[in-house]
Symmetry: C2
Subunit: 140 residues, 2 copies
């Protein structure tokens, strides 16, 4: 039950941007240095964030990325969805051969997993990027 590094790095990087951008574009190079994330990997991640309209890019020297929304309005869920990290704790398609068929005693647990997904989803839905920055233990 792990979140993958792409999602984690995405959230870290966006939090970094929220802290360090002052209405200016933040370069991946800077994020890479501050957060210790491979630049090449960040590029891959930001490609998706851009496609999903989480960030916008500024090309050329002094370019970089900017948040499309203010941190207070950016849901963590939207970040995860941008990286295809659907919160679906089991892959139980109705008509797949490899999984339960929804009938009889098979999938007794079906509704339980749905509840779990809702529980987790609602957490990510309720949390905004700005919520991460309130953290007392963080030093800038």
């Amino acid at each position: 039950m792990k979140l993958n590094t792409k999602s984690r790095y995405a959230v870290m990087a966006l939090a970094d941007m929220a802290v360090f951008s002052n209405q200016k574009a933040v370069s991946l190079r800077d994020i890479s240095l501050r957060q210790g994330i491979s630049l090449l990997y960040l590029e891959q991640i930001f490609l998706k964030l851009k496609k999903n309209n989480i960030v916008k890019s500024v090309r050329g020297i002094n370019g970089g990325y900017m948040l499309v929304k203010i941190p207070k309005e950016l849901k963590i869920l939207d970040i995860l969805l941008a990286l295809d990290q659907k919160v679906k704790t089991i892959g139980c398609k109705k008509d797949s051969k490899k999984s339960c068929n929804g009938k009889s005693t098979k999938c007794i647990t079906h509704n339980f997993w749905d509840e779990l997904d809702i529980h987790i989803n609602s957490f990510f839905e309720s949390k905004k990027l700005s919520d991460l920055l309130k953290n007392k233990e963080v030093r800038y």
Copy 2:
């Protein structure tokens, strides 16, 4: 963000037992047939459930497994822990080279992941095996 099949099958199998055992041991063969889970895989799963005192075994003909606790008292969390499915959504050890170090802006998000873990954990902690059986849509 997926639960592995071992954990899922464990919960399914135990729910099956709760439904079909009448104070009698339930054989893995029966569970395997009803739930469509490989017998060999079930054996591996039940080995762990037994080691962690979730079930007890009865050997020989007419043998099988029995729940140690009644479904109302068996937490889903205990089942997951038996299969090493710790709810730890990121692997962020303090002194690992591969992860954040807890200092400075690195791991801005640290506390957030902790919160997430707590959120999910408390779900599994609050749910009992008996909660799965109330499901209207299940037909026996």
